[in-house]
Amino acid sequence: MASGDQPAITDWPIVVRLAIERRAYLSPQGDVLAPLPSSASDPKLLIELYRGMVTIRALDVKAVALQRTGRLGTYAVALGQEAVLVGLASAMRGDDVLFPTYRENGALMWRGVTPEELLTYWGGDERGSDFKASRGDFPISIPVGSHAPHAAGAAYAFKLRGEDRVAVCVLGDGAMSKGDVHEAINFTAIHRLPLVFVVSNNRWAISVPERLQSATPTLAQKALAMGVRAWQVDGNDVIAVRASMIEAVARARAGEGASCIEALTYRLGDHTTADDARRYRSDEEVQAAWKNEPIARLRRYLVDTGVWTKLQEEQLLAEVQARMDLAAEHYLALAPRAPASMFGHLYKTLPAAYQAQRRELEEAGGG
């Protein structure tokens, strides 16, 4: 009992209440769950999205085949996450800037990075990140989450200069445990920067499952708590990912601030070719997840609506496989550079102090 005659307050005022919505349009069976957004009304475009996803899977198959035969380095497949990649990349403009991790090969490819360049990068050659088409995109960032402040810095520059460009930063579920990511989201919210964070929640950070990564029911709420608009989307539904991205990019471009889209997906493959996921997760779990995968889902919808035929499917598969065969051929034919090229872009102009080291390498036969 409170002192005096005052009764105890049992209903303190609520100062803030946060909520996270989850968006989806297609069920895992390809059934329509909600009226499709206008961005999905053109069957030609849906077929493009489908082609994009199938192309990513073909790249992954080719890359793993090369790796398993000793002709490519460690590689990270995006098996099961293709809808996130195509959905986010298809909503971006050419002069927007993508900040990818190692699992965003497919998003880069949608933006014009060639499979040759991607194989060159994963084959251990820096020339693979000298993207000939998307000149402004950041290279693949491997230290998890450390690229989030870069996206914030670039978005700050866009805003300062009055440019209507947008930065798009892709993070995994593991990255949402990083301090630098939180620092970046916080800054982005404070300055209402033109930035979209896409959290590709594939449920596993190598062997650590989401329940050991975070106690919160969503990852989106962490961004929301910092003042960024945030929601969840079925990350295996390319229509939903793309619609969410279109909305988030438009908000950013209009100066209305940043968004964080948590795309719920599943990593059907190993973390990388150096990983064996059977050590830490059950076949049953993976088999169940296969029922939700994004490519079959969209294919069912396209077939059901009469815009996709078996013949078209066969042609597409043959076409992407031929494209990847060609890419592999080009990649394997690429001659290594002179070893001394490692000094080539160390600084804009190599300081005198290191010119002698370059000569040392050249004289050791590394000319």
């Binding site: 700050y156 160390l346 102090a353």
Partner: protein
């Protein structure tokens, strides 16, 4: 020409750079209205606006990473880390990103950023405010590490750092901020990076040093002059990449070398200088190379810090020992 302290010279260089190039932005904790805890950015926000002089949240990793993102898309960010003891969260950004962006993208993207931080002991500051871990930074490929020793050097080297197309860490000796004044011409003229300065010519012993220790070495040299020992003092100024030629030319002349730094001895940058002289200047040596440095201890709290930092007496005694070696 005006007489300036080092902090005033830094402020003048920042104002000059911001005035001449709209892509230069300043960011850090308390750099805006407050003008920085040491006032290095005093008045800049009033003059250039809060969009270009950015009070960041208390997030050091962010400051480093923002600089990378800004620089890659065409700004020239000058980040401030309030004290070197707080710089470590953004070493990730320096090692993994700032220094590699040009190589990783084969020149498609680059990172013309400057990260300023006060460093060193001697101002009776609390724990973590007196570090000098420049050797850690100088080990990072692709970086420039620049340390001024006077107000005029701070002005000219900071301008050069901001105009440089690659990432630079600019370490400012805290105890020199206000303790010495000199004439500085605010004419926008930069000093060369990657070059050491012979700040006192001499015949008998070469002292190679940087930052706050330059003044101590000069004081030791003046004392020894009275005892007939002529000391040449080389202010290294840029630790990475450092000026081998000036060091070797001086040692070739004197035949004796003493390296002085405030940082701990083991793996300190003095070891690099000693190795250089042993590799490329051994035949001109008349005595062993000597080092006078901080000890391999935690930098003590202020009551003992004067015993940690090399004093002019300690430096003079080392020089004397090396000068009389035969």
């Amino acid at each position: 020409m005006a007489e300036m302290t080092m902090i005033e010279a830094i402020n003048a260089a920042l104002a000059r750079a911001m005035g001449e190039d709209a892509s230069v932005v300043v960011l850090g904790e308390d750099v805006g209205v407050n003008g920085g805890v040491f006032r290095a950015t005093d008045g800049l926000q009033r003059r250039f606006g809060s969009e270009r002089v950015i009070d960041t949240p208390l997030s050091e990793a962010l400051i480093g990473g923002l600089c990378v993102g800004m620089a890659a898309v065409g700004l020239k960010p000058v980040g401030e880390i309030q004290f070197m003891g707080f710089l470590y969260p953004c070493i990730d950004q320096l090692v993994n990103h700032a220094t590699r962006l040009r190589t990783r993208t084969q020149g498609r993207l680059s990172c013309p950023m400057v990260l300023r931080s006060p460093f060193g002991a001697g101002i009776h500051a609390p724990e973590h405010h007196s570090e000098s871990t420049e050797a850690m930074l100088a080990h990072i490929p692709g970086l420039r590490v620049v340390i001024p020793s006077t107000p005029a050097k701070a002005y000219g080297l900071l301008l050069a750092a901001i105009r440089d197309p690659d990432p630079v860490v600019f370490l400012e000796p805290t105890r020199l901020y206000r303790s010495l004044k000199e004439d500085v011409t605010d004419d926008g003229r930069a000093l060369p990076l990657d070059r050491a300065f012979v700040v006192r010519p001499g015949r008998d012993v070469t002292v190679i040093t940087w930052g706050a220790m330059v003044r101590e070495a000069l004081a030791a040299a003046r004392t020894l002059d009275e005892h007939g020992i002529s000391v040449e003092v080389v202010d290294l100024a840029t630790l990475k990449p450092y000026d081998e030629e000036t060091i070797l030319a001086s040692v070739a002349k004197t035949g004796r070398a003493v390296v002085v730094h405030e940082a701990a001895r083991t793996g300190g940058f003095g070891a690099e200088i000693a190795a250089l002289i042993a590799e490329k200047g051994l035949t001109s040596l008349l005595a062993p190379i000597a080092r006078t440095t901080g000890y391999d201890t935690i930098v003590p709290l202020p009551r003992l810090e004067q015993h940690y930092m090399p004093s002019r007496e300690r430096i003079a005694s080392t020089i004397e020992r090396i000068a009389s070696f035969s």
